[in-house]
Amino acid sequence: MTAPAHSAVLVAVMAGATILLRFLPFIAFRKRTPRYVAYLGRVLPPAIIGMLVIYCLKDVQVHTAPFGVPELLAGAAVVLLQAWKRNSLLSILAGTGVYMLLVQAVF
């Protein structure tokens, strides 16, 4: 195991860098927001959510068994439930349940 002092330094570095990234744009544009940045602020949200979906699925192996089938089925369940009921909590819990069932009992 790594020495506790070194671990504490690493945790501080990770926390500090994360905080810095979150504050940087607010510090850089504290006086007024350029129109271009304001435009990005409007159109980025849906694009980022799309990026996060892919980010979560980045390690899925589509060339080896189970070929990403559990992710595909559970993901489809989330989309269909959300389109049907418009209830995020329900979609998330049901989709996760489907996924756990698939990876534990089927594949």
């Binding site: 435009y39 849906p46 694009a47 799309g50």
Partner: protein, 232 residues
Amino acid sequence: MGKRTVKEAFLSSVPVMAGYIVLGMGFGILAHNAGYGLPWAFAMSLLMYAGSMQYVGIGLLTGGASVLNTLLTTIMVNARHLFYSISMIDRYRDAGKYKPYMIFALTDETYSLLCDGKAPEGTEPHRYRFLVSLFNHFYWICGSVLGSLLGSVLPFSTEGIEFSMTALFIASFTEQWLSSKQHIPAAVGLLGTLGCLLVFGPGKFLIPAMLVITLALSLLRGKLDAGKEAES
């Protein structure tokens, strides 16, 4: 009005509650199994409060990574937070005393709850956003502590539970798609990132994806900016 704001903030945070307790527990269990017990899990969830980076962080800790490597990895994994902050600059501008904490606590999930910009009727918007941020942070810490304590004694297999984060984003994406007339930004984000993943591989695609998305949305500004004005 105060009570109403608390109630609405709590109700908004409920979809994240399950995910954060589950994922927080996942983190607590992972940390516990790697030899980092309760104080570590608690401190990381309190101070870093960045889900995927905490998972990655356990790997860095157990591997005894260097300070420089840890710094670079954190910047790579968390650079997307620059995006969240950029799109919240105007919304958080007048948040006053709540502002520093709200910026600190702007995670993927909190962002996905607050990025549509609407605070419920009859609430004080800044207080509402502050409370949503705070509730989510609280769930995350609770999950981490629970996972750390229960780590080795859970009576059932939690394999696959990490999918709740994926499910949260898929649900947000679907909801956003259904409630918006403008689908180009969402498609750019999804397809641009997928393209970068295929080209650059799972280790290095995030930064190129952010550049591609920013570039594509900048080039489409003439079209999208006009469309947005007309819509609102």
